[in-house]
Amino acid sequence: MLEPVSQPECGLVAEVVSCDVFAGRSRKEIEELEVYAGNRRRKLGDFFSVSGSAADSPEETRIVIAGSVERTKWIGRGMSAGEIVVEGSTGMYTGAWMKGGRIVVKGSVDSFAGMMMDGGELVVQGDAGDYLGCAYRGEWRGMRGGSIVVHGNAGSEAGHCLSGGRVTVKGRAESFAGVRMHSGLLVLGSAERRVGAQMTGGSIVVLAETELLPSFELIERVTSPEIEGVRFEGVFEVYAGDLAERNAKGRVYVKVE
């Protein structure tokens, strides 16, 4: 259990908050873990009061952050197993490069959540910032596996360069969701314009009407389709795209009834 004591104004870089790092460490050792507040090297114990004990393996380790840590970045970076539950909201890069295990955020996550994710599960009960499940700057292949579920809304470019795995936004996604996507499944409650721009593969399901780009062509109408292994109830229009790209094999399913 980590209870936030204070949050530095300049932001806290704490990729050590991960079941892989906590496993097999004593309470004292966890308090001593290195974090960065700007360019100052500090201890995790300076910002969180640590209680309980960690299990021997990451699989059995469960970390609870009892409060909001909006200024703490990189929680659960590269985590391979175990569970992190955050009672409030988190900062940028939550669950980036995650390989396994589960992160549940009861509040909202800032931008770049689930960046380059490879496996595991990220559940956000509030909203997500921009670049949910994106590729890192300069990379063109993004998230490759695992699952992200956001119960609220997401910012721009959700599923940017998605290359596998599943991203679900139950609320509304801002523009350019699924931009330059290559494979995988992106499910959106509703979406602002330019869904799937420059996509070359994979499927996007939009559960409400949306304004598609002129480079998407209606190919058929289907009822209760199974898309990437998931069944969706209702009638959907299926669009092929993005036809401005070479060899584009992407599909956008828009629910009409």
């Binding site: 104004e9 300049c10 932001g11 700007g38 523009s175 721009a197 002129p214 480079s215 401005a244």
Partner: protein, 444 residues
């Protein structure tokens, strides 16, 4: 060759081929007449360049260091102000060094050294102008060319979301449209000028063809153009307010020219769609290279904003928004870019040089600048120096100090020293080097 201390000369001196360090055109054919150390006549420069040259030796220059005490400035000894600046930067846990677009690459090189030494952040003006273009060229590539190639070869010149007659007044006459080139002997008569914009700008009025798009629909228009160039059927009759006939004609013009160039401004890079608009423009140019030679270039604003990306690029691997807080270079626009950092309140000290963020950043970011210790290096008072705690005088690069600047097409131009600095410092590079030495001393 520089002409030292001409103020000692009684007579009028004419200096030719002076570099103009105002906009990204970086014209290097300016003639100055100097009398008694003052510039009295400027030839060949546009209105913006003339104003800067006349201001440089005018009365409104910042000549001495200033330190804020109890809310107002007092004149300070240069040494004291340099000491204070170094202390501010060493004491900060997330210091930001911002600006650089109107100073030399040599000064920026010292700035990067300071950022690395103090574990700070370094960002430049492209963060708030062409950063979408940079993100696009990083993910898409850039079929670019130099302005010399445009002058000698281009027979189709397109300005998209740019109004160079106002922003880069000599761009058309010196590089793109009017000059006679090796293969374009008749100048304008050998070229077609097309402007795509949301309004009929000054440049649009002199264009052979003007295409008016609805605001924030550039991405759709570019997407349709890409499809037309590749002969993919488009079902829509109009896109972004433009008829399919007009777009088909434009696509045909692009395919049939012998050397085309698309210059894009912030109208494309900073309207809805941002980096993806630029990415679509780049992909359009790439597709066109299957039919003809086609290049795409951003209309960079300041005289050395392209140079900041070059120098940061070769020193740190990243073109802007670089964070050294953990000892190595980390780049993530959205996290490490100036507006995001200030608006989130992460930055706890800031140094500004060769830019005026106090006038140009969003209100929330400027409010943060007012809260934290701020050092400004500038040639005259600006909204930024008004918020500063320490103000250090600078020297105009290309007039009072020599240095390297990169033109908008990434061509480096050496600019000379022509007159002695109006302030008490020899160059911006020197000021930064003094701060760096003090930082080294403070950190032991």
């Amino acid at each position: 060759m520089s002409l030292q201390a001409p103020e000692r000369l009684e007579e009028r001196v004419v200096v030719r081929d002076v570099g103009c360090t105002v906009c990204g055109c970086l014209c290097d054919d300016i003639e100055l007449e100097i009398e008694g150390g003052r510039i009295v006549q400027v030839r060949h420069a546009c209105a913006m360049g003339t104003a800067k040259f006349l201001h440089a030796t005018g009365d409104s220059r910042l000549r001495h260091a200033l330190i804020r005490e109890d809310g107002s400035f007092r004149r300070a000894e240069l040494q004291e102000a340099l000491d204070r600046a170094a202390e501010i930067l060493v004491d900060a846990s997330r210091p930001l060094l911002f600006g650089w677009s109107e100073t030399s690459c040599e000064a920026l090189r010292v700035g990067i050294k300071i950022a690395e030494e103090i574990g700070g952040l370094i960002d430049n003006c492209s963060s708030i102008c062409h950063s979408p273009s940079i993100l696009a060229l990083q993910s898409t590539g850039l079929p670019a060319c130099t302005l010399g190639e445009v002058k000698n070869r281009a027979d189709l010149v397109i300005y998209w979301g740019a109004n160079p007659l106002a922003s880069h007044p000599r761009h058309l006459s010196r590089y793109s449209t009017f000059p006679r080139g090796y293969f374009r002997e008749r100048g304008k008569s050998d070229r077609t000028l097309v402007v795509v914009d949301v309004r009929r700008s000054e440049t649009a009025r002199i264009a052979d063809r003007f295409i008016q798009v609805k605001p924030n629909s550039d991405y759709e228009v570019l997407t349709v153009l890409r499809m037309l160039v590749r002969e993919i059927k488009v079902k829509a009759e109009r896109t972004g307010g433009v008829s399919m006939e007009e777009l088909k004609e434009l696509a045909e013009m692009m395919k049939s020219c012998s050397f085309g160039v698309l210059f894009f401004g912030l109208g494309l890079a900073s309207s809805s769609g941002k980096s993806w608009n630029v990415s679509a423009a780049i992909k359009l140019a790439a597709d066109l290279n299957e039919h003809t030679k086609f290049a795409v270039l951003p209309m960079r604003g300041h005289c050395n904003v392209a140079g900041t990306n070059q120098v940061l690029g070769w020193q740190t691997g990243f073109p802007y928004a670089v964070d050294f807080s953990r000892g190595y270079a980390w780049y993530s626009p959205g996290e490490t870019s100036v507006v995001d950092l200030l608006a989130r309140g992460e930055v706890d000290a800031m140094l500004v040089i060769g830019a005026d963020p106090g006038a140009h950043l969003p209100r929330k970011a400027v409010e943060r600048m007012a809260e934290i210790p701020l050092i400004a290096i500038d040639i005259s008072h600006t909204p930024t120096t008004m918020l500063a705690d320490v103000v250090l005088p600078g020297a105009v690069v290309g007039l009072e100090s020599a240095g390297t600047c990169y033109r908008m097409d990434d061509v480096p131009v050496h600019v000379r020293q022509v007159i002695s600095p109006a302030s008490e410092v020899p160059s911006d590079e020197w000021v930064l080097e003094q701060i760096y030495r003090r930082i080294r001393r403070l950190r032991g």
